[in-house]
Point group: C2
């Protein structure tokens, strides 16, 4: 893989795909966007745009495509699809591969890197955990209220040269980046927040994080769910200290009235990533022998609540 | 208390109060209804009515009153109020008492008989668990799809002569009745069903019992909640055999698309009896040292979900 002149494909034109794609394109990388429903609108406007609190990033004449075959083999495929579209990996990614193509999934939850590894070979697969608050407001239009950071890792291996180069590329593009040796652990760390807040924001009636924490009982459930996730992670070999719970709750209090991404999906009647965020973690926890009664109940409620929207 | 010519007051003109009040009045008992919002409508129509699957009970010119003082002291006070109105016990019941007045609460969940005992003396207090499916459709108009039965007991004592006489009176009025020595145990037995089905019907998005059981995951939660209630009851000295779970689930399957009373309250934006059915059982379970993680989570969700309706 030649990272001096790398060709990058972005699969998935939601907030994640567009945000990082625009950043990289603006930094001079050779970025190709695969668009489906948004293709015509972006072609007509002739641009993609990210609105940040204090700046705006406009990519004029972005390289957009309707099919992966049109893009052809790349050095790096960045997956920003919703996990609910993971059944389309083979169709969308196969035309983008050469022998040395790396695949970086920026998706939420558990299951995506394992599936990519089965389909395309574990050695290709990298992951990035995006700690970001951004929304797609229109085709090719992203509003980002907090750019946050990305934590990168390799699938099933300690971090190597390749993932460090990618992190450097993201840094150069203005994305705060870290590299970790334990991608699975990073995923579980993110789940400590996502499982309770994304889940309860839906199950408690479609409410933002501040209203969850305004209820002493729901805050108790948040903490208990976090403890279940940490315990399950521990049984899987990932050590997360219990003090992390207090930190996450305090941090969330400072976020004010924040709507987790799953809540937005739910309210806008889009598919919610129930399996990646709750189903797969629950199954891995059960297999590891962890007791996760609240996670099981939350999964059951969410599966039913989100099935009604479709 | 003279049960040959007893004077009975019915407090609460919902489905429970009207149904049993009409039954007793039709059987020749001296029944006085305390009505508030429904008073004018019933006075104008000049009747109260219960529609059953195969019969109709019409009480012409029922004895209705606007205030408890107008009714005056009775031999038996039957409490059919929602538990959410229990803060009005003193105001509503005090004028109805003489030295020997018995108070029979037909209310759901836990807490009502203990409160009545504190306010009026434990020796007055009796309870009845109503296994009935009935709804108030208009002032003084009740539709009953399953008259079921009532299980009577005394508060904190084995059944005595008094409660047996009352059960006989109900039987004569056409109500299938049983008498038990352990009222608290009867309440926990009813909770085994009410906690999961009333609760999940709301928390899973406003769905009837058949849709709860159509989800393998939610059925698992139903069974786990039932096990928590049975375990808590056991720690409080009430033995409910685990086989009861299978029986309750099978029985519920046969009920088809049934909407638990709490779901109807919720959908019609009336107060839901959150404390009586979930809050107080949860607190008693916690005090007894039982682990009830799912009940705690359900309570937290319901408290929030039902607060939004008001």
């Amino acid at each position: 893989m030649n990272f001096m002149k790398r060709k990058i494909a972005i699969i998935g034109a939601g907030a994640i795909g567009c945000y990082y794609g625009c950043r990289l394109a603006k930094a001079g990388e050779d970025v190709h966007f695969l668009l489906r429903g948004d293709y015509e609108a972006v072609r007509t406007s002739g641009r993609m745009r990210v609105a940040l609190p204090k700046e705006e990033i406009v990519v004029a004449a972005p390289q957009i495509h309707r099919t992966p075959a049109e893009i052809g083999p790349c050095d790096l495929v960045i997956v920003g699809l919703k996990t609910t579209a993971n059944d389309r990996f083979a169709e969308l990614i196969t035309p983008l591969l050469h022998a040395g193509t790396a695949i970086l999934t920026l998706q939420n939850g558990l299951g995506s890197d394992a599936l990519l590894a089965v389909l395309f070979g574990a050695e290709r697969v990298l992951g990035g955990l995006c700690f970001i608050a951004a929304n797609r407001t229109a085709p090719g239009e992203i509003v980002c209220i907090d750019p946050g950071s990305v934590a990168f890792g390799e699938y099933g291996r300690p971090a190597g040269e390749r993932v460090r180069e990618i992190a450097v590329m993201f840094e150069r593009a203005g994305v705060r980046s870290t590299v970790g040796d334990h991608l699975a652990e990073l995923r579980w760390i993110k789940l400590v927040w996502n499982v309770p807040f994304n889940g309860l924001s839906i199950a408690a009636g479609g409410i933002p994080t501040d209203l969850i924490l305004a209820s002493a009982e729901l805050e108790g459930v948040v903490r208990a769910l976090m403890a279940e996730v940490i315990d399950a992670a521990g049984k899987l070999g990932h050590v997360i200290l219990p003090g992390f719970i207090e930190k996450q709750v305090s941090r969330t209090r400072l976020m004010g009235s924040y709507r987790p991404s799953s809540l937005i999906d739910y309210l806008e009647k889009r598919e919610v990533e129930v399996e990646a965020i709750w189903g797969e973690p629950m199954r891995q926890a059960q297999q590891a022998g962890a007791a996760v009664p609240r996670l099981e109940m939350l999964y059951a409620l969410l599966k039913r609540l989100t099935s009604q929207a479709h």
